[in-house]
């Protein structure tokens, strides 16, 4: 594969984003125009030449990493569908944003899978939810909904069965004093609506056959003769959606030759709970608790990405006060603590998958409980913290914390908060990491099971838009906290963990190293909290707008979450005084996109390795399916 990162001499002398866009506009005048809508950035590319120019962006301009590809429906505002792509350089820096537009009827935009394989699932999602066809896509099927579902639900004119009003807050759920439930208004008493053309005589469930179709099954069972003359049949094994080691309701359809996997297809959507459609009706503030439920292991990180994206939009308007230093320090502390929770959980359940059933994970869950006690004391909830706000936080640290002193007997003790934090960061968490390393890192069984298994090469990792420990485990030192720093990360001292091998063990090593780096960051946060004690968490000392009005524009806010790059793409329709609801709200979910290379990573390995490989990617279904 021609990897642009390895051939820097081909790169043009266009180092900044502005130079790159200027180059595209001058070289492809007519096909590339600047996006001059108010508050928008990047260029609009004529879709007829999209693939050609995308290749130039990747190879000649060096934007080798396609982070996000998503669609927007501009119904009533130009009446076109638009694909928005964010491409980055793995050497760091900002995004080159490019877009392609097409009519709303029979929408077709050429597929970019031939340029970036990472566009695969994202284009399938755009087809599924927005109804954009991608000529050139190798496997354009629905991905989140089932094959046969009526309509494309994220289109602005598609309304669900419980549709009430275009935007929240609704006028009243109690019209005239009557409380009513959505079920009561639906004829079927359920969240269903059938299109008028439904043919009940030929009623068939095609969702299953569509899954197996691309595998070429049900036609002819292929007989394979291997070298030793041993006859084996190729057969299909279905894992999930109910399976103890698929980390939720994930499903894989494997074709196996004996014990060896010849192909694997991820099937998802079993937890697709319409995050984006609901998010487009919510006000900006409403969405914060919803983001908690994306990657429900590390809700603080999800909050952070979202408030960063909205703050980007808010900073375009007037009356925006950036968060105070104490607020930033608290945010970083919470995010790093949830990264620790995330990695402990990921390593624990990965061990589950490779055979250390439930004993090690109990120790990590126990350490997590301690951190959750802290979250509960600060934010009011163990898991769904709902802690960050635009320009501030829900609350400052409390004076004292009630937490259990000893997890085995649940005796509750009253601690001074800073003392509790100091003890946790300086003693407890490092001790847990030491234990973990002592028992696992040189463990013979773990080494045997994980070294050389599930290899993802450096080129593939970039090409498939892998993120987080999956990318860094393949030798790409790309961490958004360093590549495109946000918050107070530039002034903190930490290293980007990276391993070259690209196998399961490398990913494990990356996670352990990141645990240590997180502790290192937390140790630097503690004195900053001491120094800013008593300072307000809000600029001006008073909370910002409860329901901010956001000016016209788009923003892409991204953070390095435990699982990888979590991005939020927001479009605000603006209007007089700004809009209260996002026009488009898209989540670039690392768990979702990290599954794209699952197929190539598992080819040739045994069935028993598959669950381990999946565990080493570390997915969470709330985010995969959204």
């Amino acid at each position: 594969m021609d990897n642009p990162a390895l051939a820097p001499e081909r790169q043009l002398d266009a180092t900044t984003i502005d130079e790159a866009t200027a180059y595209l506009q001058s070289e492809y005048a007519g096909a590339v125009t600047a996006d001059d809508r108010e508050g928008y950035q990047g260029v609009i590319i004529d879709r007829a030449r999209l693939v050609e120019i995308a290749r130039v962006i990747r190879d000649d301009l060096g934007f080798d990493y396609l982070s996000s590809a998503t669609a927007v429906d501009y119904l009533g505002a130009g009446d076109h569908m638009e694909m928005v792509y964010h491409a980055y350089r793995t050497s760091g820096g900002g995004a080159l944003v490019f877009k392609a537009q097409a009519d709303r009827e029979n929408t077709e935009i050429p597929s970019l899978v031939s340029v970036w394989s990472g566009a695969d699932f994202q284009e399938r999602e755009a087809w599924d939810l927005m109804g954009i066809r991608f000529p050139g896509h190798p496997n354009l099927k629905r991905i989140l909904m089932w094959e046969g579902f009526h309509g494309h639900p994220l289109r602005k004119d598609w309304r669900e069965a419980y549709y009430e009003e275009e935007q929240k807050p609704f006028d009243s759920r109690w019209p005239g004093g009557h409380v009513h439930r959505a079920e009561e208004k639906n004829v079927f008493g359920k969240n269903v609506s059938y299109p008028p053309e439904i043919d009940l005589n030929r009623l068939m469930d095609t969702s299953e056959s569509a899954v197996y179709q691309s595998l070429g099954l049900g036609v002819d069972v292929e007989r394979i003769m291997d070298k030793d003359g041993f006859e084996t049949n190729e057969l299909v094994v279905n894992m999930g959606p109910h399976h103890p080691s698929t980390h939720g309701v994930f499903r894989m359809v494997l074709t196996v030759d004996g014990e060896t996997v010849t192909s694997l297809e991820p099937v998802m959507g079993y937890l697709h709970r319409n995050h984006e459609k609901i998010g487009e009706r919510n006000t900006y503030l409403h969405n914060i608790p919803f983001t908690d439920r994306l990657d429900y292991i590390s809700s603080m990180g999800n909050n952070h990405g979202y408030v960063l994206a909205v703050e980007q939009l808010m900073s375009m308007g007037r009356r925006y006060n950036p968060p105070t230093y104490r607020c930033e320090a608290l945010r970083v502390m919470m995010v790093e603590l949830s990264r620790i929770v995330n990695h402990l959980w990921a390593i624990g359940f990965w061990l589950n998958d490779i055979g250390a059933f439930f004993t090690p994970v109990l120790y990590f869950v126990q350490e997590r409980e301690r951190i959750l006690d802290f979250f509960e004391a600060v934010a009011g909830s163990r898991m769904m913290c709902n802690y960050m706000r635009f320009g501030g936080l829900f609350a400052d640290l409390p004076e004292r914390i009630k937490s259990v002193s000893n997890l085995t007997n649940d005796r509750v003790r009253d601690y001074n908060t800073m003392q509790f934090l100091t003890e946790m960061i300086n003693e407890r968490i490092p001790r847990t990491i030491d234990d973990l390393e002592r028992l696992l890192t040189q463990n013979e069984i773990l080494l045997e099971r994980s070294i050389g298994v599930g290899v993802l090469s450096r080129d593939d990792a970039i090409n498939y838009s892998a993120a987080g420990p999956l990318l860094r485990g393949s030798g790409v030192a790309y961490d958004i906290r360093r590549a495109e720093p946000y918050s107070i990360y530039p002034e903190l001292d930490f290293d980007v963990a990276v391993e070259e091998e690209g196998d399961m063990y490398a990913r494990y090593r990356v996670r352990v190293a990141e645990l240590r780096e997180s502790v290192r960051i937390l140790k630097q946060i503690l004195p900053r909290l001491e120094a800013t004690a008593g300072e307000s968490i809000w600029a001006d000392g008073k909370p910002g707008a409860y329901a901010p009005r956001i000016p016209h524009g788009e923003a892409y806010g991204r953070v390095e979450n435990g699982k990888g790059e979590l991005g939020y793409y927001l479009v605000s329709a603006g209007g007089r005084g700004g809009s209260a609801n996002p026009w488009r709200y898209h989540v670039r979910a690392p768990s979702f996109i990290n599954l794209t290379p699952m197929g190539i990573m598992s080819r040739g390995y045994k069935v028993a390795d598959i669950v381990g490989i999946l565990g080493s990617i570390d997915i969470v279904l709330g985010e995969t399916d959204r």
Binding site: E160, F188, N191, V192, Y194, H242, Y270, N274, M383, M384
Partner: protein, 292 residues
Amino acid sequence: MELNLQELNQTEFPVPAELENNIAITSLSQLYNWGRRNSMWPMLFGLACCAIEMIATAASRFDFSRFGFEVMRATPRQADLMIVSGTVTKKMVVPIVRLYNQMPEPKYVLAMGACASGGGPFKEGYNVVSGMDKYLPVDVYVPGCPPTPQALLYGMIALQRKIDGQSIANGDDVPWYGVGTAEPTPVPVLGADIIDPRQMDMIRRQAEAAANNAPAIGARELPAITQVAVTRTAVESAAVAEAAPVSSDALTFELPTGGVPWTEAEDIREKRRLRALARKALRATRRAAEEE
């Protein structure tokens, strides 16, 4: 309830002196339920966020094994309890119903969290089933988003209490001793939208009506706004159910208007407070009487 051996040994039936403390006499139902309630194996089956709290409940700090939920089994064939831990989507409800059908009786369903109980924050979503009870019979609902491990434990203990209340003499309580095999719950079909086979007839009639451009049959209209169910008299007499609907004119009359605002509301609040205190006192006397 737990079997109390001390209590069981003290019986009015004559027990030979040498067998005292060795023979316990109880009802068959109680013994049967005692066995069932204390070996309630949940299915290892997580849907969404709530599954994480379910794992936390199973882990060492909360440890539901202490209450008889001994071990989680990944196969439905070995499970007694299905904890629906998370948002049920239309795509997922098909396997869930199939899993439920595969569980041997007696089987119970616990809806954990807001989503499984009624759709929760995602209720309006096009792919979300608004509550597990739309497809399966649910025994216990645990509120919360997600419920804390303590709340889940409470729900599980509530299920045990429910089992305690069942009697082997009552056919409705133990339908698995009925004649023949149990009818499986019909598995939904993923067509243009999810189709519940139990509603097939209704869907057909709606489709025919739509083809003839007739209005949808049985569409439930909201009651007219002029009808107000809750009146001030209802608040005062606490007989909400019997209150006759009154016209909206009456409502405007009841609402406090200009001048001295909210004095009436204060009145109502004060009366409510007094009534609550009276109820509290009544409960206290009853409890005291029971203890005696």
